[in-house]
Symmetry: C2
Subunit: 230 residues, 2 copies
Amino acid sequence: MSADVAARRGIPDASVARLPGYLQALTNFAERGIGSVSSEELATAAGVSSAKLRKDLSHLGSYGVRGVGYEVDRLSYEISTALGLTQDWPVAIIGMGNLGRALAAYSGFATRGFNVIAVLDRDADLVGAAVGEHRIRPMGDLGALVRDDRLAIGVIATPADSAQEVADHLVSAGVRSILNFAPCVLDVPDDVMVRKVDMSTELQILAFHEQRRTGELDLSAQSTVEGVAL
Amino acid sequence: MSADVAARRGIPDASVARLPGYLQALTNFAERGIGSVSSEELATAAGVSSAKLRKDLSHLGSYGVRGVGYEVDRLSYEISTALGLTQDWPVAIIGMGNLGRALAAYSGFATRGFNVIAVLDRDADLVGAAVGEHRIRPMGDLGALVRDDRLAIGVIATPADSAQEVADHLVSAGVRSILNFAPCVLDVPDDVMVRKVDMSTELQILAFHEQRRTGELDLSAQSTVEGVAL
DNA sequence: GCGACTTTGTGCATGGCTTCACAAGTGCGT
DNA sequence: ACGCACTTGTGAAGCCATGCACAAAGTCGC
């Protein structure tokens, strides 16, 4: 068991970031009634190379069978355990604008080990309004949610200018994992983990490649010789 | 100019992924009336190390002044140019569920170089309905949007089970940059770039670290000796 | 049983990214 | 004019992740 923990401690971040993808692919296989997959099949379904997949899985332990592959149910369980999804994590969403409401209505949480236990907003005028099955609660409720309902993960869906304030609130209430949808950098203590989701950033990265592509096409008149591929 | 392009070609992906963050931080500085920043200040605002920032910027060219720092406006312009944001990119959002509507209503696009020119849905019953300033259009309009309005970027906001179908439609219409919000892997030709945004994945990564943290706390009773930090 | 075949798990080499450390260049005060 | 304080840009070193190639280990057919 201590070996278990020791193994888990050493999983590289890059591997951890891919585990959810494997889990999702495995769920698809299970739904299609497939009981066993090779690293090649699973890797293709998850969009990675089979060597990478095997190395990633080797960090969890040795759950495959040589010559055969991986049992879908078993591997799903092991990855779920590694990710800490054997329990349901209570999540609170803060900021009930368009995005917050969309997130609150998103059904994908429940099937993936998360449970939205509360939605909150800083705006007193919104408090009490219904959002799906929830009623919007005031920020002051955060402390009770952490204490009584073991809230551990906060989702910030506010505009950028109030995100830091909300983050401070979450941190002082004891939340140490934050998913930030606001397009800004949050300043939090070292022991608080923040992950950011920003569609503008993603679009800008796409724009870079799109522009580079069209830029090269313009130049192709004078030199088609340079490798355009890749 | 060819040196310019050559320089731009060589920007590492990791650097490109950080440029939007720098641009955003610079915009903040500009709004606060700050005309000049050091790499240290900008790096802190963007949440990276100053060495990394300087190396990233060095890939664009030499736009700083030793002993002084970077002029905010100038650097903003250079990064915008590198990212291809001097023009506005036409974007279409496909899938008008909760998420699609939230994205369509998101005001952050316009200020960051993107312009939602159309929203679409596969469901014929939804076609024609109003979403903000837009009316939902049928998938068949994609070809015309690419041809007449230079649509280059598609945003998939459908459930996972129709994402691949939508992606195929986008690709055959000529779109080569896709932002995918559906929790699945898309199979597209090599010259099509897909970036994925998946909040479930992000939450699962947070859960991993949260679980590891609490797991170690549980064990701390028997052995506080092992380095708990980091 | 046994040999042929399949697939995992992993040591090793490779490449890319990050960090360090410092020379080169700039402004300022005197 | 000159030295001092400051900051950029960049070679060099170290680190992490990826890809390769193969031995180990299992199945299947006979």
